[in-house]
Symmetry: C2
Subunit: 228 residues, 2 copies
Amino acid sequence: MTDSTIDTLRRLPLFRRLSEGDRASLADVAELVAFVRGQPIFTEGDPSRDLFILVSGRAKVVKAMPEGRDMILELFGPGDAVGAVAVYEEIPYPASAVALEPISCLRIARTDFFRLLETRPTLARGILTALTHRLVALTNRLVDRNGRVESRLARLFLKLAGDLGARTDEGLHIPLALTRQELADLTGTTVETSIRIMSRWGREGPVQSTEGGFLITDRRALETLSLG
Amino acid sequence: MTDSTIDTLRRLPLFRRLSEGDRASLADVAELVAFVRGQPIFTEGDPSRDLFILVSGRAKVVKAMPEGRDMILELFGPGDAVGAVAVYEEIPYPASAVALEPISCLRIARTDFFRLLETRPTLARGILTALTHRLVALTNRLVDRNGRVESRLARLFLKLAGDLGARTDEGLHIPLALTRQELADLTGTTVETSIRIMSRWGREGPVQSTEGGFLITDRRALETLSLG
DNA sequence: TTCCCTATATGATCTGGATCATACGGACCC
DNA sequence: GGGTCCGTATGATCCAGATCATATAGGGAA
């Protein structure tokens, strides 16, 4: 397993600049684990024993709101460290992480993580960068919660398109199947409202639902909507 | 100036654990500057040349929304580093920082900041901790934006009380003068709504406005409201 | 003093979207 | 086959709070 783990590490931006020795010692303590769609990686309130680094697939970090509603705090993709803050702060996971599709990730125990941090300064630098990026992203999420729901949904699809959109002859394809509920959790609205907008868009508008994802047929219209 | 700067550094949590030598080299590059209430420390879009560390007083970080409305992203107090992310990422300030009262802070130029980061690993560790704390705080801000406006306002006052409330015989006193507009910017509502709630609370409710701040007369009632 | 500007205050509307209700197709299981 | 989920869909109703409008009390500046 160790050899393929080293290969995996070599492909992740976070670890690409490490020396071979660093990567080897990291591979020693990292274990490759897989999850199916909908499976929790960890659950809100659990003691944070492990840090996870996404290798393939996407995951959501959700926080259960007091009224029972869920709120999606972040979407993670390959190379992102999930649960890093909880592990670093030695607090229980403040939110749950759930696989949005079949994923694989590296699991690193807290104790190993801290040992690595002490012995590999370059790793600390990489983590610092990752954290500042997440701070910027979270700030944007805060700002994004303003305006009409339709604008927020439009902005969400523009962001998804930027992150993982693939040009096809029919338009921009987003290969990520999100339920209307998940769209609602991402934009801070209710299922009914997200369904209403999505079905209207499906008829006349700029985004179609496809099996396994979405298709943006009119990016320009989406940009106009995102401002309103 | 350097001597008093070292004294100042010794009192900030972020730098308390540094060696005397570390502090001396930091004091060499830090300059103590003052701002009056309402004065911008830096402005959104400006190139991020300097990092600021608040020594006394409070400041707000605001982002101008497209519709002209302002949004307060964070409140900073003594010991907090303002503009750290922009400086570290070498991007223009993504938001403005404005003094909420007469403040003083240390200004450190980007180049000096990076030089310090390289030569003083303990400093990097301290910054890492500060960043994770801010991540947690920002996440809470995201979650806090749910529920009725009155609940959000109640939660805001409970947080302010926890941060800087002082017990008096009449109740918990918050020595920070925020305008109704700033309360609105913090809770994501309009001036009119924040004025309505504050004047109702002033008559019958749990929070009174005083010169120079607020007085919480019924913390229990505020906690009840914060859940609604 | 008068003028102007800002913060606070309060009333009168209007509406986006939450809430409640009902319905329908598909997947899975017994 | 007939249940029982779950995701999607759509209509009907309702209300918190945005918006618009107007008013009053300081606080400077001239």
